[in-house]
Symmetry: C2
Subunit: 300 residues, 2 copies
Amino acid sequence: MIPPTVLGLSDYLAARQKRIDEALDRWTPPESASPPTIHRAMRYSLFAGGKRIRPLLAMAAAEAVAGDCAGVEDLACALEMVHTYSLIHDDLPALDNDDLRRGRPTCHKVFGEAMAILAGDALLTRAFQVLAQLPGVDGERKAWLVEELAAASGTAGGMIAGQVNDLEGEGRPPEAQLLESIHRAKTGALLKASVRMGAIWAGAGGRTLEALSSYGEHAGLAFQIVDDLLDVEQSSEALGKTAGKDLAQGKITFPAVYGLERSREMAELERRRAHEALFELGERGARLKQLADRIVRRSR
Amino acid sequence: MIPPTVLGLSDYLAARQKRIDEALDRWTPPESASPPTIHRAMRYSLFAGGKRIRPLLAMAAAEAVAGDCAGVEDLACALEMVHTYSLIHDDLPALDNDDLRRGRPTCHKVFGEAMAILAGDALLTRAFQVLAQLPGVDGERKAWLVEELAAASGTAGGMIAGQVNDLEGEGRPPEAQLLESIHRAKTGALLKASVRMGAIWAGAGGRTLEALSSYGEHAGLAFQIVDDLLDVEQSSEALGKTAGKDLAQGKITFPAVYGLERSREMAELERRRAHEALFELGERGARLKQLADRIVRRSR
């Protein structure tokens, strides 16, 4: 078996993305399953060309703990389902009211608001079902994974808390503490949980899990800073979603608080911190370091 | 300790409802917890005077299996959270567009659509977190409970499938097979799961679990038939929600398909079937029988 770090990063990413997509296809009811509309809506958003950052982080973290990890793509599906549900609901007219996502009309533009709400609900529900059914994982670890995913997605410092703070922060003066609390919860919690859940899946605990948590936190923050920068710097076409939207909506972003140059420096600092967190993993952390680099240097 | 069946039904229900409400209060972040708005919205809908049918079924099923069951109210909270999330989303303008629920303005009327969508999401997420944290339950059983709840709430014959069929059935000719497929999924699956999950929590398996599943199916169907009847027969004031709405929306209901008298007979038949399913539980099934009777003879 080829050790995963021998592949170049692009080949590695392509191979993992293929495994993720195949697993998502297995774990999602087919479009023909009754009632077909909801499964079409779920699949429309799941297979819309996402970057699969959360699944990739989970898989790379598992591999850092336990080498080549057959089956970790099943776990990764739960993360992508939760992420996709959050995008569908976030795009709704009552929330961000976005017509474009990943270069295509958003779920509610295609399937209507009612179906989009239900498709988001269904993906969230399905994510927990996937965790409960994970092959080869014992009950205690499944329950731990459910706890991690629910906490990262919930209202106590999780994704929904971030959404609420984001909504309520619109139009308020861009302020550093509010910015941090929004992003730590809105995107940071699930990105960190992705790394942690991959590690937990692979049997990690103690110091290794702590190191990977720290990596996940810094890589997650870097991801968000770059996301905010891309929204300012790029066109909608390159980005695949409406660009400049943050500014138009009065969202509190890193460029709005710190300016472009300082934001770029901060992303670079978080990238370095992500690397440093992996110190004690030695060579096993190589792939995660590459992922942190890619996160910061990506163009969409 | 007084065996639960010694109490009269009204005292029993009051005592259990108190335990459920206290547990819901413990398992839901306080209104003061950040961000407060979402916790206010969650609590507004959770503590809106619901009948707690699902928690009561779960607790009575657990008691039928294992006698007095300290702690089963924690499990019951997960069921009430999922039920409440489904009501909040169901009431949204894009779905049933209802202004009144349990005699009070619906969640989105008070907190706005965005917050109502997120409050529903948060309750669904929290339900799975409660299951993952259940005190005194081993990992395998927690994972089984997550699987049961997710399946009953999902798109494969679960609650969301019922919602979709219901939406897509509006305005179509009232037809028996469609009616059954809607209700089996929309309300039946979660009611049945409530009974099953209480039994599983208490350690049931095999024939006892099968008997209780059958009870849950019949009691659940009886509940839905009576719900449809009450919508026709009662005023909005007595019902606490907009009456006659099913008819106005062209919903497929039991009275629409079978007429009032036949629907009443069907509810009675399902009540008797629920009783019969409990045959092999003997005296231990007494409380569940009373609950089935109450479900059919209730006035809201």
